[in-house]
Symmetry: C2
Subunit: 335 residues, 2 copies
């Protein structure tokens, strides 16, 4: 039978100090190494701590120190395969600096993002914010609170907030270059959320592509496997020889539909993903795609936030490069 810890039976620093025959301050000093303490007292404190099973109350420490020892992360969708690795890296960095990690999810709902960030701000030393669709004005309001914060996967020009992102533009440029060199002239892009900065960055790459003879048509689609599945058939009719996607999920959906329709890939049409979601951990995917260094992204983000916390350091936006992986779904256009 478990009880919730009745306040009375919770062991505090005073219980320890009494048991050890020292003051509470000494117990604190021993446990935190804040000051030199006579070794005999140190031993008595440690004994008492062990006997009583004492653990400092984190809330009390936070209050007294003015620091929570916690950072917060807000992501739009915990189940999106993009984030686990990022969180893993953030968690590792965070832990290495002696802090804990609070995680919240907005469930892709911009309406709640603001509240969640506010909530994080009142219980975390710093916030890592991945909020692709939050309106600029709301972001500005949050930034104005001067609470340590790092923007993740989104760069907002004119905001004095450290941010880390991926060079999506360059990534898509590599994709286009690959296709152009294979001889493709017309391609379609299954577009992601139109309000998303990350999507806009991808699209921006098509201007340069045009200069090199590759015309890319943007088609509204979405960010899910299902969306790719539904949209791809109509796109094919337009006579393109290659299909680019907002992310790998969309590409998987599209491939699935193409397979059903008996369309051969890459013989009849090339399909190129984005993000490289399924690479290492799940299957040896054969999708040509361009990869995000998700673990590095998480690690660097955690480090920037830590520096911000310790030094109050403000840094320039950081862009991580993407890498093209040519696999089995891209090839020369049908002639």
């Amino acid at each position: 039978m478990q009880n919730r810890p009745g306040r009375s039976l919770r062991v505090t620093i005073n219980d320890v100090s009494t048991a050890a025959g020292v003051s509470a301050a000494t117990v604190s000093r021993v446990l935190n190494g804040t000051a030199k303490v006579d070794s005999s007292l140190v031993d008595r404190v440690h004994d008492a701590v062990r006997d009583l099973g004492y653990r400092p109350n984190a809330a009390a420490q936070g209050l007294a120190r003015g620091e929570w020892g916690t950072i917060g992360v807000l992501v739009p969708d915990l189940a999106n395969p993009y984030f686990p690795e990022v969180l893993k890296a953030v968690s590792a960095v965070t832990r290495a600096h002696g802090r804990r990690m609070m995680v919240m999810e907005s469930d892709e709902d911009p309406a709640v993002e603001h509240d969640l960030v506010e909530d994080l701000m009142r219980c975390c030393d710093g916030v890592l914010l991945c909020s692709p669709r939050m309106p600029r004005a709301e972001l500005a309001e949050l930034v104005s609170r001067k609470h340590p914060m790092v923007l993740f996967n989104r760069v907002v020009p004119g905001f004095a907030v450290p941010s880390i992102s991926v060079d999506f533009h360059s990534g898509m440029t590599q994709v286009c270059g690959h296709l152009a060199q294979l001889g493709h002239r017309r391609a379609a892009y299954l577009s992601g959320p139109s309000a998303s900065w990350a999507n806009a960055e991808r699209i921006r790459a098509f201007e340069a592509a045009r200069a090199f003879g590759l015309e890319v048509t943007v088609v509204d689609c979405g960010a899910t496997s299902r969306a790719g599945y539904d949209v791809v058939a109509g796109v094919l009719e337009s006579g393109v020889t290659a299909i680019l996607t907002y992310n790998d999920l969309v590409a998987f959906g599209a491939l699935s539909k193409l397979r059903e329709q008996g369309v051969e890939v890459p013989k009849e049409v090339s399909v190129i993903g984005f993000d490289d979601i399924s690479l290492d951990r799940v299957a040896h995917s054969n999708l040509t795609t361009v990869s995000v260094p998700r673990d590095e992204l998480g690690r660097r983000a955690g480090e920037i936030l830590e520096r911000l916390l310790v030094n109050g350091y403000d840094e320039d936006p950081l862009y991580l490069p993407m890498t093209l992986h040519v696999r089995d779904t891209s090839g020369p256009p049908r002639s």
Copy 2:
């Protein structure tokens, strides 16, 4: 330029009370609805809160209330595709009950698990523990603290701790039944971590299988795609007609190797996964497997923990059923 919130410029309940011309107690009452307050005062408080941008300090609330408003979750590997959906569900339930979610990862290292749980206990009202390999003695020690805790994916007989898990035994029995009905007589099981309860449950199903004429040989393997890739070749030589795996990742690795070797699936050998990791979110996988209701698992776990916190309620271990999904990698044995 961001500063870390200088203590002096942090707005407290006293700032609000001064601005509104009321006592701090009244501010507290208005914000928490703890008692009736004259409506004119209510308005003044709300105005002051808005003007000053006041947000209650979570640590101070926690201290005063004796509750942190936070639950903690410990998982062995954040990047394991098994957990995102679980965390998503836990997060939703937790939030619905007005609590936050702290997440920690043991990185599959039993040595640190104990410390992490201790850390969670001193900053969380309750703990959700997924720790497949922690020795029974250590678990017992943690349970003895009487801190609200729910065991996840592990049932420990004789412990008075609420636990929720999946009926792995039944799941593997379904797999064996499927194979037996197809006519298979000899199969190999690529075993997961030997210390894991979840693995033992799967193996337990092979006794019944034998009674139905299916002989399953257990082969040490591991829990990763790589392990499946490395081990499967040697297994094939033993002449089995079907390969069962600890999880889908292992199965994917095995399939990858088989494909390389030109072994046809399921014509020459059937391959059956476990967990159904890649189903909906990523690709339309064609692996025959048996699925875990991961979101329900997370939801139910969160609810049990919440009940424990509110009622101090102790419940019997809960087992969720698995579902067999017959797809393209299983078929009749070669003759």
